[in-house]
Amino acid sequence: MTATRLVLRWVDAYTRGLPGDARAARRAELASDVWEQRAASGDGLGAQLALTSRCVRGIPSDLGWRHAQRAGRRRASRGSVARRLGWAVAGMAYAALTMMHGFNATVLVGLDLYGDDWDPAGLAWNARVSATLLTLLVVGAVLMRRLPRAGASLVALGALATPIAFPWGAIVYGPIAFAVTLAAVARAQRLRRAQRETTRG
């Protein structure tokens, strides 16, 4: 077995089971390094020994790097679960708030609990606007994974339009809308960065 094959096989072995992007990046980087070394030193016995030596001396570090990658992935996975839970709770709270308008329009008006002081047409308008904004939020959140910018724009539109549509609730909706918009923009940036890294690797 030539030294080049030994190095590349070893890279294959210690990157096995790692996430695709980390594995592909490390393999590509080593393939490049080995090629450069061969181009500089040739394929003589001395060059083969030097290449083998570089590979063997680096084994403890390779294993340390692998361990760090796996540990980092586990930490990221735990963080991801917490983030998803946070998103779910925030989404449900927001949905509950916006659905209250729909509830007002359909149930309370239907039961005639508001009396004559409330305008059923106005409450029905509230319900339609709430449903539209909620749809924007849900579609945006779903779309974000594939099209981060478009998804974040829909989420931001749905969130920021809420305090405008219901100015009397702005004190509640305003900060929530602002936080949801910031979170959507941050998530879109993270996803775009990850997509770029995958494309490059």
């Binding site: 080593l30 490049s32 090629w35 500089a40 570089r54 680096g58 790097w65």
Partner: protein
């Protein structure tokens, strides 16, 4: 032994020093050659040692890495290189470490111990 967050080991300091002497981005093998040339007694840095250190420096944002344009690699008939460049934070850290080394009387060199 667990390392203190943000601390650098000799190979990482040597990489920062070599990187601060370069204007152009560099790839792993080029860096290994530069490190070996700077310390004539030593061979090329081991793959594992070198790329683990580079990954750690990039993680700390002292270096930034990007893949070379595939067109260039294709034109030259070789695998794509991953190119590294010193960041502003990396340059500041290299300068601070140089000053510290000068004060300690070890100007321009970092202990080779621990570099495989």
């Amino acid at each position: 032994m667990r390392r203190r967050p943000g601390s650098l080991i000799p190979i990482e300091l040597a990489i920062l020093e070599a990187a601060s002497a370069r204007r152009e981005p560099f790839h792993g093998f080029e860096l290994a050659k530069a490190l070996a040339d700077a310390d004539g007694a030593r061979g090329l840095t081991a793959h594992g040692t070198l790329y683990k250190a580079l990954a750690r420096l990039a993680e700390q944002k002292l270096l930034e890495a990007e893949w070379e344009d595939p067109e260039i690699a294709l034109r030259d008939g070789r695998p794509r290189r991953r190119l590294y460049r010193l960041t502003g934070a990396g340059a500041a850290r290299a300068s601070a470490e140089r000053t510290r080394a000068q004060r300690a009387g070890t100007a321009g060199r970092y202990p080779a111990a621990g570099i495989a």
